[in-house]
C-alpha cells in the first residue's frame, strides 16, 4: 500500500450531503475478482455522466481545474451505505488521495486507510469555509493536507488542525503491514482463545453438545 505524508493539490468541492457508496461506484461495475484498476472511470456515474453516456458538464470533477483534483471536499456523511471497498478504489483511481469532510460512513472511513487514502474530519463550518475559499479562487488555490503535522492549509494560508487515530496515522505514514504486525502477536491471540475456550466452549465447537 502506498502511504500518505503531505500533499498540496487542487481540491474539488462536492458538498452534496449523504453521497452514498452506490453513487460512488455502481454495483454493476465492481463485480469480479479483478476489478481493481477498472473502476475509476465509473466513479460517481450517476452524477458524472448523462443518460447517453456523455460527461455532465455540471459535475465538479468534469470541470477545469477540478478535473485534476487530488483532494475532495465533501458534504456530511460522505460514503454512507455499503462496505464495498471498490468505492475507495474508484475515487483513488480518479486521482484523489485525500478527502476532507465533516463526517464519513464508518466502513468507508476504515476502507480509506486500508488503501492509502486519507480522510480528514473537520467541523462542518470549517469544511464549508474551505470549500468557499477554493471556489473564490475558481479552484486554482491549492489546499495542503499534511499528515505529519496533522494540519490542512487553505488557499488563503489559514492553518486548520485535525486529529487522526495514532495507529491510523502511523499506518499511513509508514505504510505498515497490518496482517503481518498482528500475526507477530499470534501467541497472544492463541492464549486468548485458549482461555476463552474454557469460558465459552460453544463458540469454538459450533453445534456441539460438549
Amino acid at each position: 500500500m502506498k502511504g500518505f505524508t503531505r500533499l498540496s493539490a487542487i481540491a474539488a468541492p462536492l458538498m452534496r450531503a449523504n453521497i452514498d457508496t452506490d453513487i460512488v461506484i455502481p454495483i454493476s461495475r465492481m463485480i469480479g475478482n479483478s476489478v481493481r484498476g477498472t473502476v475509476g472511470k465509473w466513479a460517481f456515474t450517476a452524477l458524472r455522466y448523462r443518460p447517453d453516456g456523455s460527461e455532465n458538464p455540471e459535475f465538479v470533477l468534469n470541470r477545469a481545474p477540478y478535473r485534476d483534483a487530488e483532494i475532495l471536499i465533501t458534504g456530511p456523511n460522505f460514503g454512507c451505505g455499503s462496505s464495498r471497498e471498490p468505492a475507495v478504489w474508484a475515487i483513488q483511481e480518479m486521482g484523489i488521495k485525500a478527502i476532507i469532510g465533516s463526517g464519513f460512513g464508518d466502513i468507508f472511513y476504515n476502507n480509506c486507510f486500508q488503501n492509502g487514502v486519507l480522510p480528514v474530519v473537520l467541523d462542518p463550518q470549517t469544511v464549508q469555509a474551505i470549500a468557499e475559499e477554493v471556489e473564490e479562487t475558481q479552484g486554482t488555490g491549492k489546499v495542503t493536507v499534511d499528515l505529519e503535522a496533522c494540519q490542512v492549509v487553505t488557499p488563503s494560508g489559514r492553518t486548520v488542525k485535525f486529529t487522526v487515530e495514532p495507529r491510523r496515522r502511523t499506518g499511513l505514514l509508514e505504510g505498515l503491514d497490518e496482517i503481518g504486525a498482528t500475526l507477530r502477536r499470534d501467541t497472544e491471540i492463541r492464549a486468548f482463545q485458549q482461555r476463552d475456550r474454557e469460558e465459552r466452549p460453544w463458540i469454538y465447537r459450533p453445534g456441539s453438545d460438549s
Partner: protein, 470 residues
C-alpha cells in the same frame, strides 16, 4: 461492586485481546461469514501472501449476492459465475463450510446466520457486508467490515476496532394495526437522520422490542446502518432462546444449558449509562414509505412529500428538490396513489418466513394489478421450503407474483436483476439510493404488508385499508 454495564460493553470487553491505545483494541472474531461478492477475493489475498486461514471452523460461507433468483436458475451474470466458482474452490481448499445452491443453508448471509444458529447471543460476528448489523437481533455484536479487513480476519481471527460510543433507542408502546418492525425502524431513521447513529453501537429496547418477534428484531437491527450505526443489538430473552434452540449450529444438550446461563447475564444492567438516548412513541407511528433517495426521506403513507418551497436552508431545499426530481414526484403532494411498476418482497431486511406470511395475508384471494410486476424472493433455501410447506408460494403465484429462488436479487441488483430506467418499485429492502435497483430506478422502501398492498393496488397504498376488510 462493579459499575453498571451496557450489553455492548459486556460483549466488547469479553472480546478484547489487547488494548492498543486511543480507544482502539485488537478484538477476537467468533464468527465470520463469507459471501460470493468479496469472499473469494479475501481468501485469495490470504493465499497469495502464503498465510493460512486462522480458524476455518469459525468461518462459514454462502452464495447470495450474484446468484440468480430465477426459478431453476440456470446460470447468472458471467462475473457472478466466476465469483461463485472461486468461492467454491477457495473455501474447499481452506476447509470452510460453504452452503451452496439448493442446499439448506444457502441464502442471504444475514438470514442464514441466525437461522442456522451460527449467530449466537454474545458472539462477535463480522462479514464483508454493511447489513451485518442484522445479527444483533439475537444479541450478537455484529458489524460489517471492508474487504481488506476480511483478509485480516481470515488470517488472524481478529480485527482492530475503535470502541464506539453507545446509544439506546427505546421503542415504547404498542404499535397500531398495520404497523410493523420495518415501520418502527424507518420512523426512527426519519427522526434521527442517516447519520444520527454514526459512531455508535445502538441498543434497541423498550416495550415494543420486548413484545416483538425475533424475526422482527432482526429487521430492526438490519436498518441500523441506515442510521449510520455499524452495530445494532437487542438483549436476548426467552424468545431468542426458543428461536435458537435446536438450530444446526446452536449448542446442544448440556452445552446449550451452559450457554443460555451465560447469555442471561448479557442484557444491559439497570442504570447502565448510554452516551445518547432516544425515545420513540410507537403508538404515534403509521405505516411508513420512503419518498426520496435516502432512507431518512420517509413519511407516513397518509402523509405528503416535502415542500421544497417551505425549506429555508438553500442546501437542504436543493437536496430535497434533487431527490423529488430523481423520483419523479411533486413536492407537497400525497404519497399514496403514486403508481408503481414493480414490487419486490425480499432482501436481508424482510425475507424471512414471518415477512412472507404478512405479505401473503394481504395478497390471499386478490390479484396483482396488471401494471405491476411482482416478485417474492425468499431469504434462504430454508425459508423457501418452510413457506412452500405452508402453501404461501401458491398464494403468491395465484395472485400473480413470481415465486423465486433465494438470494439478494433486486435489493441491490448485483446479479443483474434490476428495474428499467425510470421504473418505480415498492421494495421491502433497505436502500432507496440513486441507482440502487438499476440506473435511474426509483425505489420506495416499505414493509412486506405495504409492498403487498402496493402490488394489489398498482400504486402506493395504505395497507390498513386492505386489512380492514379482513
Amino acid at each position: 461492586m462493579t459499575a453498571p454495564q451496557t450489553m455492548f460493553a459486556k460483549i466488547w470487553n469479553s472480546h478484547v485481546i489487547a488494548e492498543i491505545g486511543d480507544g482502539t483494541a485488537l478484538i477476537h472474531v467468533d464468527r465470520h461469514i463469507l459471501h460470493d461478492l468479496g469472499g473469494s477475493r479475501a481468501l485469495l489475498d490470504v493465499k497469495e501472501r502464503k498465510l493460512a486461514v486462522h480458524d476455518p471452523e469459525l468461518t462459514f460461507a454462502t452464495i447470495d449476492h450474484t446468484v440468480s433468483s430465477a426459478p431453476g436458475r440456470k446460470g447468472t451474470i458471467p462475473s457472478g459465475i466466476e465469483l461463485m466458482k472461486a468461492l467454491r474452490t477457495e473455501t474447499a481448499a481452506a476447509g470452510i463450510r460453504l452452503f451452496d445452491i439448493d442446499q439448506p443453508g444457502q441464502g442471504i448471509v444475514h438470514v442464514v446466520g441466525p437461522e442456522l444458529g451460527i449467530t449466537l447471543p454474545g458472539a462477535l460476528l463480522v462479514c464483508g457486508d454493511s447489513h451485518t448489523c442484522t445479527h444483533g437481533g439475537v444479541g450478537a455484536l455484529a458489524f460489517g467490515v471492508g474487504w481488506s479487513e476480511l483478509a485480516h480476519v481470515i488470517a488472524t481471527q481478529t480485527l482492530y476496532q475503535r470502541r464506539p460510543r453507545t446509544m439506546r433507542v427505546l421503542f415504547e408502546g404498542r404499535p397500531a394495526p398495520g404497523v410493523t418492525p420495518k415501520d418502527l425502524i424507518l420512523a426512527l431513521i426519519g427522526t434521527v437522520g442517516t447519520d444520527g447513529g454514526t459512531g455508535y453501537a445502538v441498543e434497541y429496547a423498550g416495550s415494543a422490542i420486548r413484545d416483538m418477534s425475533v424475526e422482527g428484531r432482526l429487521t430492526v437491527c438490519n436498518l441500523s446502518v441506515e442510521l449510520g450505526a455499524k452495530m445494532g443489538l437487542i438483549a436476548p430473552d426467552e424468545k431468542t432462546y426458543a428461536y435458537l434452540e435446536g438450530r444446526p449450529y446452536s449448542p446442544k444438550g448440556a452445552m446449550w444449558l451452559r450457554a443460555v446461563d451465560a447469555w442471561r447475564a448479557l442484557p444491559s444492567d439497570d442504570d447502565a449509562a448510554f452516551d445518547r438516548e432516544v425515545v420513540i412513541d410507537v403508538t404515534k407511528i403509521a405505516p411508513q414509505i420512503t419518498w426520496g433517495t435516502s432512507p431518512e426521506h420517509v413519511v407516513a403513507v397518509d402523509g405528503r412529500t416535502p415542500d421544497p418551497a417551505a425549506i429555508a436552508d438553500p442546501d437542504r431545499r436543493k437536496a430535497v428538490q434533487n431527490a423529488l426530481d430523481y423520483m419523479g414526484l411533486a413536492g407537497n403532494a400525497p404519497i399514496a396513489g403514486t403508481p408503481v411498476d414493480w414490487v419486490f418482497i425480499g432482501s436481508c431486511t424482510n425475507s424471512r418466513l414471518s415477512d412472507l406470511q404478512a405479505a401473503a395475508a394481504i395478497v390471499r384471494g386478490r390479484k396483482v394489478a396488471s401494471r405491476v410486476r411482482a416478485w417474492v424472493v425468499p431469504g434462504s433455501e430454508n425459508v423457501k421450503r418452510d413457506a412452500e410447506a405452508e402453501g404461501l408460494d401458491r398464494v403468491f403465484v395465484e395472485a400473480g407474483f413470481e415465486w423465486r429462488e433465494p438470494g439478494c436479487s433486486m435489493c441491490l441488483a448485483s446479479n443483474g436483476e434490476q428495474l428499467a430506467p425510470g421504473q418505480r418499485s415498492v421494495s421491502t429492502s433497505n436502500r432507496n439510493f440513486v441507482g440502487r435497483q438499476g440506473p435511474r430506478a426509483r425505489t420506495h422502501l416499505a414493509s412486506p404488508a405495504m409492498a403487498a398492498a402496493a402490488a394489489i393496488a398498482g400504486a402506493i397504498t395504505d395497507v390498513r385499508a386492505l386489512e380492514d376488510g379482513r
